[in-house]
């Protein structure tokens, strides 16, 4: 249970809020690289933690992330012209269609054609601009203090060739904390996603007889780390001498990777606030050892694994709260716990149904919710330590990202972290300089 003040601290991400300040110290994934595919591509609107921006790739290939609105009269630069050096002022940049003011990727105004050339007015005009980079087929933006800007993250999927990963983003209609909490909540898997193999034989949460744990809840361990924490969920198996472990990493502030069984594709999510009532759910399926097969890609693009059926342009899912996620009660009676098709839409149905911002003063956390408790305390603690003491947040060192979530059957009584140390470590290929 959280007080109203604690809930606001946890969920409010706009400029000047403590959590917003914390989150701005991380690189945020904002666009698929294919949304601004080429130098000179049209600008794209982006809303991130309540701030409205336009992102464009100029004709020199620089990526700009600017305040959406022109410094002159506030017209949207989404309608702007992405011009090359072959233009009246000789600069690459985005020109407002209203009166022709033009901005470089770093926000500097470089042309002001409705003022006298020698007035030099333009030199004093600079739009808010944030550093933006392409990395791992995604465009990332950093909105924090420049002097504290960390290197780009090195989550395992960002280091793989394009052929080994499949990335989607989906509009999620709730505060970002609801899906982050949901992805760390291992016990829901035995219920919400029951009979998921009906949708795909490789989705094997039911492996090792975990279904019986509907009656035998898992035991949880949470180990704080320098990057966030590791959650271990231990379930008994049919074999009395072994336990089934699902070990999940949470990497500050919004990243979770999903344990896999055997060599099935891995999954990762990031949940990035658009505003306080919406977020982008980033979904990445990947296989470190090999390129994805055509069959796997076709499956993901049709809404399988951790992806959703959705509009390819707006990223709005087909199943929403407004249409009750197309729940099929016959399916629910016969083969599916929920009657809702798609793993992530089953999650979304629960998380969005809690309200745009869940009222955490009404809840009752049990022993299965220790990761949720740890998540909230860590985020709120770091937000307050940053606000009050200027303590830089954790989880920004790329080397600490070289890890993966796993599942394993271990002999009873062994040290679950030591026994899985090698399995959880990601060997990063040496980059050629």
């Amino acid at each position: 249970m959280l007080s109203k003040e604690e809930n606001e601290l946890l969920t409010q991400t706009g400029p000047g809020t403590p959590m917003g300040q914390l989150l701005r110290h991380y690189w945020a994934p904002v666009l698929l690289a294919e949304e601004v595919p080429d130098a000179g591509s049209p600008p794209v609107r982006v809303k991130l933690m309540g701030e409205r921006l336009v992102v464009f790739r100029d004709h020199d290939g620089n990526i700009g992330a600017l305040d959406e609105f022109c410094a002159h009269r506030g017209a949207s630069l989404f309608f702007g012209r992405n011009e090359s050096t072959d233009s009246r002022d000789g600069n690459c940049g985005l020109r407002c269609c209203y009166h022709g003011w033009k901005y470089r990727y770093d926000g500097q105004c470089v042309d002001m054609p409705n003022e006298p050339e020698n007035a030099r007015f333009k030199d004093d005009i600079r739009l808010k601009a944030y550093p933006a980079r392409e990395h791992g087929s995604v465009i990332w933006i950093y909105m924090g203090p420049i002097e504290s800007m960390p290197p780009l993250p090195e989550y395992e999927w960002t280091l793989l060739p394009d052929s080994h990963r499949y990335i989607t983003k989906r509009l999620h209609s709730s505060n970002f904390m609801q899906p982050v909490e949901g992805s760390l909540d291992s016990s829901h898997v035995s219920f919400l996603h029951s009979d998921a193999p009906m949708w795909h034989p490789n989705w094997t949460h039911q492996m090792y007889g975990t279904r019986k744990h509907v009656l035998q809840p898992p035991q949880f361990r949470v180990r704080p780390t320098d990057f966030g924490f590791v959650v271990g969920a231990r379930r008994e198996t049919d074999d009395a001498e072994h336990d089934y472990w699902r070990i999940t990493n949470w990497v500050m502030p919004w990243n979770v990777s999903i344990p896999r069984d055997d060599l099935e594709p891995m999954g990762a999510h990031s949940f990035v606030p658009i505003d306080d009532e919406h977020c982008w759910a980033w979904n990445i399926s990947y296989v470190p050892e090999r390129p994805l097969t055509q069959r796997e890609i076709a499956f993901y693009s049709s809404g399988g694994h951790i992806h959703a059926e959705q509009d390819p342009k707006t990223f709005v899912p087909v199943r929403t709260l407004e249409n009750d996620y197309l729940i099929n009660r016959d399916l629910q009676r016969t083969v599916s716990y929920t009657g809702i098709t798609g793993i992530v839409m089953q999650d979304a149905a629960m998380q969005e149904s809690m309200g745009a911002v869940s009222d955490r003063s009404r809840e009752n956390l049990g022993s299965a919710d220790s990761a949720i408790l740890a998540l909230r305390r860590r985020l709120m603690g770091e937000a307050r330590a940053l606000r009050d003491e200027g303590k830089l947040p954790t989880g920004r060192n790329p080397e600490s990202h070289h890890l993966r979530s796993i599942s394993a059957v271990l002999p009873g009584g062994v040290d679950w972290l030591k026994a899985t140390e090698d399995l959880r470590r990601v060997e990063v290929p040496v980059q050629s300089s």
Binding site: P217, F220, R221, D226, K391
Partner: protein, 120 residues
């Protein structure tokens, strides 16, 4: 100046050690236990820290009690010149302990306010 900033200026050797030890990570274990016939509680435990097992009606309350036990153990160890058990792994080092509802500066402030918790 915010209270937490003031709390960090001019730390004694005792306080510095306290802040350092508060960042040491331990594995939280939680479970529901039947404490008497038909009566269930949430249990929270740091298996590596002797005596650090707490029970309460709710899990957050059990973790709060557990964190108080850990603080008490650290303070007793500091006073007696003993070390605390350590697991391997990086310290949290973010101004938080990872699981307490208080930041390290806030814990330090509590210790200062309740001088009986400080060095004897």
């Amino acid at each position: 100046m915010p209270p937490a900033v003031a709390a960090h200026s001019g730390l004694t050797a005792f306080e510095q050690k306290l802040c350092e030890w508060l960042t040491l990570p331990y594995t939280l274990i939680t479970m529901s236990v039947e404490t008497a016939a038909g009566t269930w509680s949430s249990r929270a435990e740091y298996a590596e820290l002797p005596g650090c097992v707490a029970e309460a009606r709710s899990m957050p309350e059990a973790v709060d009690r557990l964190e108080d036990m850990r603080l008490d153990l650290i303070l007793r160890s500091l006073r007696s010149g003993a070390d605390v058990p350590r697991e391997t792994g990086e310290a949290v080092a973010s101004g938080t302990t990872g699981l307490s509802r208080y930041t390290i500066s806030e814990i330090l402030e509590r210790v200062r306010l309740h001088s009986s918790l400080g060095p004897s």
